[in-house]
Amino acid sequence: MDDASPIRAPGGQLAELYERHAPAAARLAYLLTGDRGLAEDLVQEAFVRVVGRFRHLRVPDAFWVYLRRTIVNLHTSQLRHRRLERAYLDREGRDPVPDVGMPDVGAREELWRAILGLPPRQRAAVVLRFYEDLSERETAEVLGCSTAAAKSLIARAMQSLRARIESESP
């Protein structure tokens, strides 16, 4: 850890921290949840938790590391199930939020549906590995499990995805 140039997270830098990290956090949260509204809830909750617990950040990049870990943990935790799914149910009665991503076609859409059908930890493992480009060890650290368990999650996810794609192929 570099002790030479601490930065302070609190005070006037909060807004700056949010502006800097929210877009990447939203992208990650969206890939984990497949729902933009849920993703925003997740990012906001994670932001409050991380900022609230850090007075000094000695390594600027550490904020993103902890924010990412918090997003993944919230996603796989019961908090997600209880609070965010409540929020999701509340929203269901309103107009649907349009998916503003690139148009999806054919196989890509099938793969996306298959990813969203994965159990949360498997989905998180795949997103961390292939979107965040983390190593298996780093993926394990974020998920709070052993490297072997992370490898197993990824392998099972890939197996499920392959099976799903093959079963839907003409």
């Binding site: 807004a15 939203a26 906001q44 409050v48 938790r49 902890y66 918090t70 890509r108 994965l118 159990p119």
Partner: protein, 619 residues
Amino acid sequence: MNDLEQDLRELFQIKSRVPPPTPRPPGLLRRARRRQVGTAFVAVLGGLAILGGAFFGARALVTSHPEVRPALPTAPEGFQSVPLPNVSIAYPEDWSLVADDPERTEDRILQLANLEFGVGWGNCEAGYTLPRGGVMLEVQLGGIQGSVPEWPVPLDVLPGPTRPCGADLVLGASWTASGRAFSATGLVTRDASREDVDLMTRAFESLTFPEVAPQTEEFIGHWSRILDVADSPVGPVVLYVYADLDDVRREEPSHWIGIAGPVGSRLAGASQIGRDPPSGDESITMNLDTWGGVVWGDVSSEANRAQLRTVEGFTFPAKLISLPRSIGVENHQAVWGIVEGETGDRVTTLLYDGQGNVLNDLFPVGARISIATGEDPAGGPWELYLDVTNDGTGLGFAFTDGGGGGGCCLRPLKEDFRLDGWGSGGDEPSNITALASDVIARIVFEGVDGTAIEGGLHPVPDESIGVPQVGLVIVPKDVPLEGDLVAYDADGNEVGREFVGETSEPAGPTPEIDAVWQALRAARDASARYFERESTFTTLSLDALVDLAKGPVTFSTRPEPEAVSVFVTDDRHLAMSSSAITGEEFCIAVEAPDSPNSSFNYRYGSVFAQSYDDCSGGW
């Protein structure tokens, strides 16, 4: 890189092109700042604090005081002895003790009463009146002007018409101790019992003063209700709860659970009680040092038992403590425990409900813990072990050169003997494992062909699991694995007997109920087959269940007798419910495995459950 990995990377890049989140939502930074203020408040006073469960860290300033062990008075039976910054006191365990910040309470340093305190309670100047039967002791810094005696002094009746807080009898004393002046006031109402007055007097007489104050790290908050005290390798540590009165003046009061250890111990800090009860251990705070540390925080009142587990696999007891009703926080309780020995940056607080179900989402993964090893003439070397997984601790058995496996998760043994399971197949001998209390002295497999095979009993090294011994019987391949596993005590008395082998599930007590049970079991097995294929229940449909069901079962989207209604709770949990034509209702709760080594868990209930959690009561 294979095609699927490449496809995933491309897909994620495309899908991640969501527009940026809405500009900062109103109140977001205010929430963050409020939380930050609380943390900073803690950090200034605390030592090395690791806050917020498994993944948050924060370092705080370290006190410059030398380490001093507070002097504690001896606590008679029914009393507990507690160090506060300026004084120690032994007081009745069921009374309320509050540590006050003298700078914010006009020099008052403690309040003790035989009744429950409320926030800001006991302020006589504000018009507070003691309720009937109440007695209260207050101790202040400073004393009556003029010459006062050295401690100890008696608590005398004060003459005159003054009746603070509506007390009918006022006692008082002034003294000096360790070069500082103190005074005390005892308030007694007319209906107070003589016994309570005596208890208050004994508490007063127990006051013990440090040579140098403060003797503890600071209590955060100017009004700290003491919850508990525990010994640690660095001295006594106090657990307390307080309401942040600065927050009370705002729209949302905040409540905190804090600790204070001996001055110089760096044991200080507080953890905020959230608005909603935590589902697991996410609101736990840790203060870890080279000797060990203190873990404490706020958990749901649903928790019935708790224990601490370090990343190294060591376990320590944790205590659950109800929060005083006057705090005004419902459905929460405090938990805390002491960890001894240096540990990594993570201690997990495992929480169990009244039925022994784990409330945590994730367990810490740990190394395999060996219970016993041996060598079988046919199977070769074997090991009986505990498997510490994200789902919990399971019991496993394996031949070193062959196969093996285990289940998850062990729960405290409430009876003396319980069959855990058996494994067979391949070329190796079969194995039977059972859980046993200390009462069990011998375990035997009695096969239906008349064969009797002695087993071994092995103590479980992790006492916190609540299973004293594991029984293991290795059955040769040529012996049919069908018979009874029998447990005996030291006198040869049979204590338990369980059937081993493939057996059908029991029939219902009436034909009508049996029809429902059969339908629910068929639906249960169909759901398991679905999960094995899809790895989720989220996409489950009744059509899919109909296709997968083996046996007579009718599914329905509305309650009707002998038809099964299915309620998906989340991707791994669902409930299936039905009713008999005679009116009885039943359900099966299904929990799908979260790892390759675990298996399905089923819970049976006697209600028409519409979620996994609601299904309870057994069949």
